[in-house]
């Protein structure tokens, strides 16, 4: 209490921050995973958070829906980031019916000529699998996994801090920088140089430094381009890979998902937030934010309801926040211009298939481990050139005819999602640009679905005959139905110029905005990358400090 008083006093002296008594209501816009996590921490911090979700369910991009009678799928995201361990611990997720399934092998990557590579949790086991392709690569794999882990430790540290203020670094910024500096020094001279060299590199060059097997290169490189407008030969894609490795240092990333789909996970987050006092309202769409004299005063819902608040936290993407919910005349022109330049053109589509049976992959011998092998992620994109060509199409406003697919069949480990004996296949499809040059997504939706089934059939020939239902979610749908501006699943491009102190824009990377009382907590803020919850936690910390 004394400390709070001191903080209060201190803030009053500074005179720029908002000072709110403990227990005051804070409205959060959007019920995605980051907003739910922020709400949890705000409630713990003594505020009264109210989450307003436009749709009938919370979860944002992490939801489970019935897409075909009797078939349910993680409609959008189909694997976890994974969630940061400390967040999972704070939220006590294990208490809320949320069982995380972690398949092993994590990734099964077939080639079109009937070979396949498997990636296990265990490094030695994976190395043995790689040995079938190249003894040299097998021997290098352990070294690669280790250096990735070491480098990732630095990114883990970086992801947990608030980007420093460049003009007037706070004592905490300096402390954080010191800590980060220490973790950099911990990498040693070679490690530091590797880090500096790798960051701006093309991920295709990065994997080529270690491996010669095309399939192995492609599976690892794919992680650097997921959800981005980058091909494996685009510089800077290694930074994205390293950023992802911060959440899970395994070379191919995480394959974990909750029983009941991703919706079960966000329901557990919501439940946890409710338990500590957060209020969560669904079917509550925000129309706009009321601002007076540069500070928020309230919020208006589409049904006309008006709520008076002194602080608003937006979990929706920055472009939607500033260009749809805020009166443009309230924005500083420099800020508005930078925000306009914030790139958020999505490249990912999602296809969910209701299958009458399990697809047969000839690349897998029909043995007992068949099911186990298919229970993780399936990577369709056997060569760097394949990925690059898939990307090429999107540069000219066309979706890939031979797309790169990241597939899961969640029903193998979680049969509850489909009727008995039937299966759900969920595929991230890349590359599908938000803006098509010819036609539009309403007329081309079917073509995209067909292209995906055709691409899959090259690896599982019986698949087309099994399809009972199909759901195609185009980048256009991601914007209109799910609220991702530009259809960008990460709320904004993950590129060197839009990370860290530049996310979403330089000078405003500290979860605050130029509008007093308006904060950001979504993926459009640092580190903002997948279902890790890192943006939500970082934002909560800054918001609590600012509000008190």
């Amino acid at each position: 209490m004394e400390r709070q008083f001191a903080a209060l006093h201190c803030d009053r002296v500074k005179g720029v921050q908002l000072i709110m008594p403990i227990g005051q209501r804070v409205v959060l816009i959007g019920g995605g995973h980051n907003a739910l996590i922020t709400a949890f921490y705000l409630a713990k911090g003594g505020f009264k958070p109210v989450v307003l979700e436009r749709r009938e369910m919370v979860g944002g991009g992490a939801i489970t829906e019935e897409f075909h009678p009797g078939f349910r799928a993680s409609t959008l995201a189909h694997t976890l980031g994974p969630l940061r361990a400390d967040v999972a611990h704070d939220l006590q997720l294990d208490k809320f019916d949320c069982e995380i399934l972690s398949p092993d092998p994590r990734v099964f990557a077939p080639t079109s000529d009937g070979k396949a590579l498997l990636f296990y949790d265990d490094v030695a086991q994976t190395a043995a699998a790689i040995g079938h392709f190249s003894a040299k690569d097998a021997s290098k794999y352990a070294q690669f996994a280790r250096s990735l882990e070491e480098t990732a430790s630095f990114f883990t540290q970086l992801a947990s801090i608030t980007p420093p203020a460049i003009d007037k670094p706070t004592p905490e910024d300096l402390w954080n920088l010191l800590k980060t500096g220490r973790s950099v020094r911990g990498l040693g001279k070679t490690g530091i140089f590797d880090l500096l060299r790798w960051g701006p590199m093309a991920v295709a060059d990065f994997v080529a430094e270690f491996f010669e097997t095309e399939l192995l290169r492609a599976v690892i490189a794919a992680r650097g381009i997921f959800g981005t407008a980058l091909g494996p030969r685009s510089a800077g894609s290694t930074a994205v890979l390293l950023l992802r490795a911060a959440a899970d240092a395994h070379p191919v990333g995480s394959a974990a998902f909750p029983r009941g789909g991703l919706g079960a996970f966000t329901c557990a987050l919501a439940e946890s937030a409710r338990q500590v006092g957060a209020e969560i309202r669904t079917d509550a769409e925000v129309r706009h934010i009321l601002i007076k004299d540069g500070a928020v005063t309230g919020i208006v819902l589409t049904d006309g309801e008006e709520i008076t608040v002194e602080a608003i936290v937006s979990g929706v993407d920055p472009k939607r926040t500033f260009f749809h919910l805020v009166d443009p005349s309230q924005l500083d022109p420099t800020f508005a211009n930078r925000m306009k330049n914030f790139r958020a053109n999505g490249t990912v589509a999602k296809v969910n298939l209701a299958l009458g049976g399990l697809p047969a992959f000839p690349a897998l011998a029909d043995n007992e481990s068949y099911l186990k092998t298919l229970s993780g992620r399936i990577h369709i994109g056997p060569e760097i050139d394949y990925l690059e060509r898939a990307f090429d199409a999107s540069k000219y406003g066309e979706f890939s005819k031979m797309p790169w697919l990241d597939v899961t069949i969640p029903t193998i480990l979680d049969p509850s999602l489909a009727p008995d004996g039937k299966h759900v296949l969920s595929a991230y499809v890349q590359f599908a640009p938000f803006k098509l040059r010819e036609g539009n997504w309403y007329t081309r939706r079917r073509d995209l679905g067909d292209a995906v089934i055709k691409a899959l059939a090259a690896y599982a020939p019986n698949l087309p005959g099994l399809v009972e239902g199909i759901q195609v979610i185009t980048p256009q749908d991601l914007e209109t139905s799910y609220g991702f501006t530009g259809g960008h699943i990460f709320h904004g491009e993950l590129a060197l110029d839009q990370l860290f102190t530049m996310r979403p824009v330089l000078d405003w990377a500290r979860y605050k905005t130029p509008i007093r009382g308006l904060f950001l907590c979504g993926s459009g803020t640092h580190p903002g990358n997948g279902l890790t919850g890192a943006s939500g936690v970082n934002a909560a910390r800054e918001i609590i400090r600012d509000l008190r």
């Binding site: 001279k189 140089f193 500096l196 960051g199 701006p200 800077g236 790139r343 540069k395």
Partner: protein
């Protein structure tokens, strides 16, 4: 002087010692100041390669009193900054064809104008379009803005803003071109001070300047320009300077930096200006060579180096391919790291991690050159007849997609079916390079990947040349009728003829992971090498390629600074020990 004679005498009477080098040599040197010990054969510094950087390096060392020899493999000096009469009466600036980045301090300190350097202005960039229209930017800013306004009013306004914003960007980066990159991994106070200095300078920028600088350092040139402009041909032409010498497309991050690198041009104190050297780019090399000779440098042509001689991990001279050996206290190599470390040295002489860094260093040449001797001037359909538009650069870069598709071809190992071409007709500005009434057309062509997927450059050379001419003919159909002769240089030729590994014109890609303290090898960006007394001074070092000369100048400073007593005491081994 006495000491010198004493040394010569010493070696004269002891023929065994002629088999040189250090142990004996150092014993001999103890308590003696001079180091020359064999008449006509021993030098303070041997510079490998007579390109502009090698010559600059030699000139500065000689001015500081060192006895220097430059060894050039070819029959003509200049490396890639060379002029040759390939077709009788026509002087081709074979490789590098325009100049802008040559450091003003070098021009001043070496007094190059007195040695014959004369830069003639290159006015503007003319981009013909397939639609029959064109974009013509000139050195006169107001005229450029007027022409841009024909395409877009908004862009005309933005162009003003853009030019204003780029000036502080260039000002920020320029001092970095003349500094030895600091080592970011040490706690050495000197390096920390430099890093702090850079950070402070960054913090002194205004918020908008910082924003733009960060973008320039990280973005793709296409994304960067998309924020400013809407006219396709304007963006395409401007973004082209972001891909020169790289194996990247305009949409690949990191190309905005290359754009800035080419934006920094400065001639006679005027920012952003490009020019020709009278007599071709070779005249620049000749002017530097002249200055070097005046300072006492001995320059030998047709003297190809075969090997760098070492003794106990120290460079002690070079052996020419014909077997002649030259001993030296310092070897300064202006050729690229591949040649220096993999060809002129034995792999076992180098630490494994360094060698790996050298092998990893990316060259990947991506451009070729087509030089044409013309009977008359090309006639562009969009602006017929001769005119001022032919006096500047003519850029075949009609749209962003055109540029990107050119890159797509190269990615999969083909030369661009429709390449980006940057052409100049130097004979309009400098009539001395062609017979009266006739002209020289110099075409820089990108992309031409070093490795072709399905063929060899030996087979494809002429087809590549035809493709370039066909591309030009789409805009200036008369080109095919006025060609008297041509020279086609593929990346393969650039490697074979000019010693540019994999045909990279900058001795290694200008990509972010190969710049500043990472160029050429992380941990060795300080012009030193793991071999004591062996230094690098070519484009493969910071600050990279182009006719800048900065590399050679900074390297000379490093060498001189470490010169104590008989030879430099580089901290090379020290920094390795701290590893």
């Amino acid at each position: 002087m006495f000491n010198l004679r004493f040394q010569q005498l010493f070696f004269f009477v002891d023929p065994l010692a002629v088999a040189f080098c250090n142990d004996r040599f150092e014993v001999a040197l103890d308590g003696v100041e001079s180091e020359s010990y064999r008449m006509g054969q021993h030098y303070d510094v041997v510079v490998i390669g007579g390109g502009h950087n090698g010559l600059v390096n030699a000139a500065y060392l000689a001015k500081a009193g060192k006895r220097v020899v430059v060894l050039e493999r070819r029959h003509v000096l200049g490396g890639a900054a060379v002029t040759e009469e390939i077709i009788a009466g026509f002087l081709f600036s074979e490789c590098s064809y325009v100049v802008s980045l040559l450091r003003p301090e070098i021009i001043r300190e070496l007094d190059l104008p007195r040695h014959g350097l004369e830069i003639l202005p290159l006015d503007g960039t003319f981009s013909p379009m397939p639609s029959g229209d064109y974009l013509w930017r000139m050195n006169d800013h107001a005229k450029s803005v007027r022409d841009i306004r024909r395409h877009s009013r908004l862009d005309a306004e933005a162009y003003d803003e853009f030019s204003k914003m780029m000036t502080p960007m260039c000002r920020f980066v320029k001092p970095m071109l003349s500094m030895v990159p600091p080592d970011p991994t040490t706690l050495n106070p000197k390096d920390l001070k430099q890093l702090y200095f850079l950070l402070q300078r960054f913090r002194e920028l205004s918020s908008d300047e910082r924003y733009t600088l960060v973008q320039l350092m990280t973005m793709s040139s296409a994304d960067f320009l998309d924020q400013w402009f809407e006219t396709d041909v304007l963006k395409a032409t401007m973004s082209a300077s972001g891909i020169i010498g790289t194996y990247l497309g305009i949409r690949s991050p990191g190309t905005a930096y290359v754009l800035l690198h080419h934006y920094m041009g400065e001639i006679d104190g005027a920012f952003r200006s490009w020019g020709f050297s009278r007599g071709g780019t070779g005249a620049i090399s000749n002017a530097i060579a002249d200055a070097a000779r005046e300072a006492g440098v001995e320059i030998r042509i047709k003297a190809p180096v075969g090997k760098i001689l070492t003794k106990n991990g120290r460079a002690c001279g070079v052996a020419l391919q014909d077997g002649e050996e030259l001993s030296a206290n310092v070897v300064s190599s202006s050729v690229d790291p591949h040649l220096t470390f993999e060809k002129f040295l034995d792999p076992h002489e180098l630490p494994a991690d360094f060698l790996e860094g050298v092998r990893r260093y990316k060259f990947r040449g991506s451009s070729g050159k087509v030089n044409l001797a013309l009977d008359a001037l090309p006639n562009f359909m969009c602006l017929p007849g001769p005119g001022a538009h032919l006096r500047g650069a003519i850029s075949i870069s009609p749209s962003m997609d055109y540029m990107e598709r050119a890159y797509d071809d190269a990615k999969y190992g083909h030369y661009s079916r429709r390449p980006y071409i940057d052409m100049v007709i130097p004979s309009l500005t400098d009539p001395s390079v062609a017979p009266p009434g006739k002209h020289v057309l110099s075409c820089f062509v990108q992309y031409a990947p070093y490795k072709l997927a399905e063929s060899t450059w030996e087979d494809q050379r002429e087809a590549f040349g035809d493709n370039v001419i066909n591309t030009i003919a789409e805009y200036a159909p008369n080109i095919k009728d006025i060609i008297i002769g041509r020279q086609v240089l593929t990346p393969f030729d650039l490697e074979r003829e000019f010693g540019l590994t994999q045909g990279n014109i900058f001795q290694g890609e200008l990509s972010l992971e190969q710049l500043f303290f990472l160029r050429p090898v992380a941990g060795w960006a300080y012009y030193r090498t793991p071999i004591q007394n062996l230094y690098m001074c070519g484009s493969a070092t910071h600050p990279g390629g182009g006719i800048m000369g900065a590399n050679g100048r900074i390297a000379s400073q490093v060498i001189l600074k470490e010169w104590k007593g008989s030879s430099p005491r580089s901290t090379a081994t020290a920094s390795k020990a701290s590893n």
